[in-house]
């Protein structure tokens, strides 16, 4: 493999088919990825193939360490970087459906975006310190006035606090805010605790 190699190490692995009893690295990789089943005696019985399989396995096992080392070697994202990225995003990207708002003014057409109502739901977390709202969905035809709507919310709660009162408080906040700001016919607020953070802030 290398010229002028005077180290005492054994010869490097030979990985060409003529040295692998007719098998190829491609085949051996497939065999390894299939969990070495069904067993192939012509591979299992070949010392050269077994050495190559071991080397392939070691290499595959090393990739998580490579990712970890590479990531650790990168600097953390500083504020300037975060602002640069955020400066490039379009804020109206997640407006969602348009929810009509009834009005008595003739020919007027009022509406609020689903995204804005999600913002209202998220803001309810401010009344429940330590609780973080994740994804929010409206199950129902929000574009049709009066249609029943179920609000589905994922939340993260801090470790060490009883969950039911936190969730109950949030449910009340969400229902109250939606009743105050929208005409949605909210029939249920379903809250799923998805995450318990190890240490509350």
């Amino acid at each position: 493999m290398t010229s002028g190699d005077d180290r005492p190490d054994p010869r490097p692995l030979e990985l060409d088919p003529e040295h692998l009893d007719g098998h190829t690295i491609d085949e051996l990789t497939d065999y390894l990825e299939a969990g070495r089943v069904p067993a192939d005696p012509s591979i299992d019985g070949s010392p050269a193939c077994r050495l190559a399989l071991d080397a392939l396995e070691r290499l595959h096992g090393l990739t998580p360490d490579l990712i970890a080392a590479d990531t650790a070697a990168e600097p953390e994202a500083d504020d300037g970087w975060v602002r640069r990225v955020l400066g490039g995003i379009a804020l109206d990207a997640h407006a969602g459906r348009r929810i009509p708002v009834p009005t008595s003014v003739p020919h007027a057409d009022l509406g609020i975006t689903e995204g804005a109502v999600r913002g209202l739901v998220r803001a309810a977390e401010n009344a429940v310190p330590g609780l973080v709202v994740g994804r929010c969905r409206f199950d129902g035809d929000v574009t049709r006035p009066g249609a029943p709507v179920t609000v589905l919310v994922d939340v993260s709660v801090p470790y060490g606090r009883p969950i039911p009162p936190l969730v109950e408080q949030l449910r009340g906040e969400i229902a109250g805010r939606l009743a105050l700001h929208t005409e949605l016919n909210v029939t249920a607020v379903d809250i799923t605790v998805r995450d318990v953070r190890p240490y509350g802030s």
């Binding site: 491609d26 090393l62 590479d70 970087w81 990207a93 997640h94 240490y199």
Partner: protein
């Protein structure tokens, strides 16, 4: 978007920034998908080092890494609502970055030629060994840097990005058998070079 709006939205988020920072990917990405800029900022902070590292491995160069990672995040912001499981945002972000990186490669090198592959010379001496694992990671790193570009790209997409052979073929616009060939050669070269290190 005005800079003031951006500052306002970030400042408002400072109230519970620590809580949001500690929340898991499902919560943070789900919230970002709903249009919350502060949550998206948490993702940017959380995954920029990984995105940079991964992009650097694909390109084998530092040039363009920041541009590609920024583009990837901008695209991710737009497409987050399509992500069915927000808990998988990490691997999904890697996919978005892969696509940007491969696009960049294809723009500068329209065709993958398997027959005339050049293997670059190593650019630097091997770093000192710290531990056995560290030494093996360094050996792998060194071997990757010495692979021909298409071999390295395939290997990184497969092993770090978790792509299937079909997905790599599609991404790189080559046949599956070409991908298999490139991957086999990449593995062979890496293993032989890592053996030399031992």
């Amino acid at each position: 978007m005005g800079a003031d709006d951006l500052h306002a939205s970030l400042d408002q988020a400072d109230l519970d920034q620590a809580d949001l920072d500690q929340a898991d990917d499902h919560i943070v990405a789900g919230r970002a998908a709903d249009g919350d800029v502060a949550a998206f900022a948490v993702l940017v902070r959380r995954y920029t080092p990984m995105m940079r590292a991964y992009t650097r491995r694909i390109l084998n160069s530092s040039t363009d890494v920041d541009d590609i990672v920024q583009e990837a995040f901008v695209t991710a912001w737009q497409r987050l609502p399509e992500l069915a499981d927000p808990g998988k945002v990490k691997s999904w972000l890697m996919r978005v970055a892969s696509r940007k990186a491969v696009d960049r490669i294809r723009a500068s090198r329209p065709q993958v030629s398997v027959d005339h592959i050049e293997h670059p010379a190593p650019e630097h001496a091997s770093p000192p060994r710290v531990t056995e694992t560290r030494a093996r990671v360094d050996a792998l790193s060194d071997a990757l840097q010495r692979l021909a570009d298409p071999e390295r790209e395939c290997w990184v997409l497969r092993e770090l990005g978790g792509y299937s052979y079909h997905e790599i073929a599609e991404e790189m616009d080559v046949s599956v058998s070409t991908v298999r060939g490139l991957l086999a050669r990449a593995r062979k070269h890496i293993i032989v070079r890592m053996e030399e290190w031992r």
